[in-house]
Every structure is written in C-alpha cells, then in structure tokens.
C-alpha cells in the first residue's frame, strides 16, 4: 500500500506535465491537407491500438490469475498494453497513403531514424531497460526453486545465528514470490517480442511516403511525434514491468531472517526507491501517450472588427 502511496504522486505529476506540455499545432483550412490526413489516420490507428491494448491489459490483470495462478500471465499486462500501441502505430503508418496526382514530386534526400529520434525519450528508454535488465538478471541469479521444485521462484536463505539459549542454530527458509527465472523468462521473451515490434514501428515511420513537398516540415514533425510515441509506449511497458519486479524484490529482501550482505542491502534500497518511481512514471507516461501532440485545423477564422458579417449587423 505504501508502495502505491509513493507511486500516485509521480503519476499525478506525469499527468499534469502531459496536460501542460501538450502540443497542438494549428494549420489553416486549406493548408497541408495531405499531412493533416496522414496525422489523423495514424492517430486514429494508434488510439485504436491503445484502447485494445488497454482492454487486453485490464483483462490480464483481472483474469490472469485464472490462466496462471502464480502471476506469470498477470505480469505480462504492461507488455500487452505496449504491444497494442505498437501494432496500432504500425498499422497506421503502413496504411497511410497520401493522395498522388499526375505530377508527383519527391525530395532527393535520405530519411534516417537519427534525424527524427527524440534523444531525451531514447535515453529514458535505455536507462529504464538497463534497470529492468539488471533487476531481472539479479533476480535470476539469486532465485532458488520453491518447495514444489519450480526453479527461480523464491529467494532462499541459510545462515547460522547464535541463540542465547540454544547456542549456534542453523536458520534457513525461503521467501517468495521472487522475480527469478520463473518470472524472468516469460518476461524476457515478451520484451524481446516488444523490441521487435518497436523496430518494425520505427521502420514503418521512416519509410512512410511523404505528402506534398510544401508540407515537408510538418511531415518531419509528425514522424518525430510518432517515433516519440513508440518510445513512450516501450518505456511504459518497461517501467510498468520494472515497478512490480522491484516491489517483489523489496518484499522478499525486507523479511529475511539472516543478516543481509552489502549487495542485498544495496539491491533492497535501490528497489525500494526505483519501484514506486517506475510505477508512477509508467502511469504518468501513459497519460502522455493518451494526450499526444495533435494538429488542429483552424477552419473557422474569427471575424475581424469591421469585416462585413454574412448576416445581421457588422461585427464592431
């Protein structure tokens, strides 16, 4: 519960930042029609993907225990959400086709991912992925088999303590669930599949045809937004997975009866800080994924003072 208390403020901050920093670009009614059409098309597909991914993730969270009572299906909920967004993005980018006329022009340029990659988001994704990889690696390295022989599901401890009455006593036990190989393997497979989808989505964005040459700047901005959304979806998935993994680590490590070593203490404290931050940031970024930048068509220009009004008295 305390975990969520820490995560909620981070999520609220993320939502507020997403609301305050939401980008809305306004274009005239007859300007950049091809780019506006592509923007609407890709946005529609991405929202469909987000909704389907969200529904599937909620179903996994609520009904996943019926599929796998040990929580492996439930752990895949963030990945399913990310997969939904990425599939929607890929479908939108691959089916976006600007209308072509008799005379067709193209720029002699080589479009590259580097030119449209938002560096900040790429760094956040890289750091998040490194943290998750580290957590899963530590979990797999320290995990042990549980009482039913399921490898990598609990954290075992064994040590000798000096009891005032009994003398030297051998203490041992297991605490779980622990994010060992039992949980890490399906997560790694799912995240690798997600990485493949990220690569496909980025490729689809870069290779999407350009609309008219006059809209080149706007089109480049649209691609930049799309790449940003793909990276955000991947980051939501990684952080949404990292948060619970860190929570499990804290839960298992904090109740140990043996004295914790330096490494275990360090991991426990790091997980206690990273867990709530990651969960909150995942929700905050999810808000950013809903409130993506958008293009508004200014199709009703305001009447200026002195302009003749179409009906009634002139505007004063």
């Amino acid at each position: 519960m305390g975990f969520l208390v820490l995560a909620v403020p981070v999520a609220v901050v993320g939502l507020v930042v997403a609301l305050l920093r939401r980008v809305v670009v306004t274009v005239g009614v007859n300007e950049h029609s091809g780019a506006v059409q592509i923007a609407r098309h890709t946005r529609r597909w991405r929202v469909v993907g987000l909704l389907l991914g969200g529904v599937a993730a909620v179903l996994l969270l609520t009904l996943g225990q019926r599929v796998d009572a040990l929580g492996r299906a439930t752990a895949l909920a963030p990945t399913v959400l990310g997969v939904g967004v990425l599939l929607g993005t890929i479908a939108g980018e691959l089916t976006a086709r600007p209308s072509v006329g008799i005379r067709r022009s193209a720029a002699v340029e080589t479009r590259t991912l580097r030119a449209i990659l938002p560096r900040g988001r790429a760094v956040v994704l890289a750091v998040s992925t490194t943290l998750l990889g580290g957590a899963l690696a530590i979990g797999a390295a320290w995990g042990s088999a549980d009482d039913l022989g399921r490898a990598g599901r609990v954290l075992s401890e064994r040590c000798t303590v000096v009891d005032p009455e009994l003398g030297v006593v051998l203490v041992g036990g297991s605490r779980g669930p622990w994010p060992g190989s039992f949980y890490a393997l399906p997560l790694v497979v799912a995240l690798l599949a997600l990485a493949g989808l990220v690569a496909l989505a980025l490729r689809a964005i870069v290779t999407r045809p350009r609309p008219e040459l006059d809209s080149r700047g706007l089109d480049t901005m649209l691609r930049c937004w799309s790449v940003g959304n793909v990276l955000t979806a991947a980051t939501v998935t990684v952080l949404g997975t990292l948060g619970p993994v860190a929570l499990l680590m804290v839960g298992a490590l904090s109740g140990m009866r043996c004295d914790a070593g330096v490494a275990q203490t360090l991991v426990a404290w790091t997980a206690a800080v990273v867990g709530p931050l990651a969960t909150g940031a995942a929700f905050g970024l999810l808000a950013g994924l809903v409130l993506t930048p958008t293009i508004r068509v200014d199709d009703l220009p305001r009447a200026l003072p002195g302009d003749p009004a179409p009906v009634g008295a002139p505007v004063r």
Binding site: I102, R103, A107, T110, R111, R210, L213
Partner: protein, 124 residues
C-alpha cells in the same frame, strides 16, 4: 541548403524512369549533388513518387552505367567520385527547353505558342 527535388509526370510520353534519370543526371552533372552525396533509397523514392520500386531501380542502373552514381550493397547509391560533368545549369536548361519545344512541335504548336504557355505557367 536548397532542397533538390525530382518530378514525374505520369501523362508524359517519356517513361518515368527516363524522366527521373534525366533530372538526376542534371543534378549531378551541374554539381547540385556533389560526389559522395547519397541518393534516396529505391523504396523511399518509389513510395514518395507512387511508382514501382523497379522503376527507380532501373533509373539508378542507368545512372550507374553512365558513371553518375555508384551502388554498393548495404551502402546505398552515392554520386560517383568523378561523374560526367556534361551539364552546367545553363546547359541543362537549354536541353530541357529543346525537349519542350520538340514536344510542342509534336502537338502542332508554334514556338511562340509554346513560349506563351511558359509565360502563363509562370504566372500561376
């Protein structure tokens, strides 16, 4: 930096690959595209122009055969180190004008009518 563009008219009797070849040869020959500059990937140019990838590939093959570009697997197509410098921008313009006048003659238009059409086009 000025953006170089190519244009294809699908109603033009000249095949699209030849229209592209001529424009790219002009851009290279006049120095607008410098040696080592990378040309767009075949698929990118094909989707941007709404043409088949084979059309663009043929254009690039013809340019490579004439020594304008060099293609390398994995490295894309780049302007050759010493492409034929046959065309200054003025020369390229003269060639384009000659081709236009030749087409006007085929359509039965006089040189004056062709010039008038150019003037009208510049006003729009």
């Amino acid at each position: 930096m000025t953006l170089s563009t190519v244009t294809v008219d699908v109603l033009d009797p000249t095949p699209p690959y030849e229209q592209l070849r001529r424009q790219l040869a002009d851009l290279i020959g006049s120095g607008v595209l410098a040696p080592g500059d990378r040309l767009p990937p075949v698929r990118q140019l094909a989707v941007d122009l709404g043409l088949a990838a084979g059309t663009i590939a043929r254009t690039y093959r013809e340019l490579e055969r004439a020594g304008y570009v060099r293609s390398r697997r994995g490295g894309g197509t780049r302007v050759a180190p010493a492409p034929p410098a046959i065309a200054t921008p003025e020369r390229a313009l003269e060639e384009a004008a000659s081709a236009y006048l030749a087409r006007a003659r085929v359509l039965g238009a006089s040189a004056e009518a062709a010039l008038e059409a150019v003037r009208r086009a510049t006003r729009t």
